[in-house]
Symmetry: C2
Amino acid sequence: MDNDTAKHLADLRRSIDNVDAALVHMLAERFRFTQQVGRLKAQAGLPVSDKHRESEQIARLRQLAEEANLDPAFAEEFLNFIVAEVIRHHEKLASDS
Amino acid sequence: MDNDTAKHLADLRRSIDNVDAALVHMLAERFRFTQQVGRLKAQAGLPVSDKHRESEQIARLRQLAEEANLDPAFAEEFLNFIVAEVIRHHEKLASDS
C-alpha cells in the first residue's frame, strides 16, 4: 500500500469511527426510551411486543432508507436486530415486576 | 390502557421514531464511507476484511458503550452486524472490478 492510499484509508477510518461513536450514543438513547416504554407496558399489563407498531416502524424505516440511498432490506434487518434486543429487555422487566 | 398511559406511550414512540431516523441517516453516511474504503481496497488489491482493524473497533465501541451505559456485548454484536454487511459490499466491489 502506497503512502497516499494509507493516508486516505486512515482518514476514512477516522470518519467511520466518528459515525460509530454517534451510532453508539444514539442507540444508548434509544434504549433509554424503550426502557421507559417497557416500564409503562409492565405497569399497564400490556404485551411486550406490538406487531402493529413494528410493521409501521418497518414501513417508515424502509421509506427513510430509500430516501437516504440505504438498502431498505438492510434497514429492516437492522430494526429487527434492535427490536429483538428491546423485547429481551421488556421480557426481563415483565418477569422482574 | 388509560388515556395518560396512551399519551405517554405515543410520546415515547415519537422520540424513538426520531432516533431511528437519525440512526438510518448515520448508517447511510457510514456506508458511504465504507464504500470509499471498499473502492480504495479494491484499487490497491487489499483484502476486504482486516481483523486487526476490526478488533480495534470492537474494543473502542465496547468502551464507548460502557460510558454510555449501553451493554458492551450488544455494541459488539451491533458492530459485527454492520461489518458483515460492509464485507458483503466489499466482496461485491472486488468481484465487479
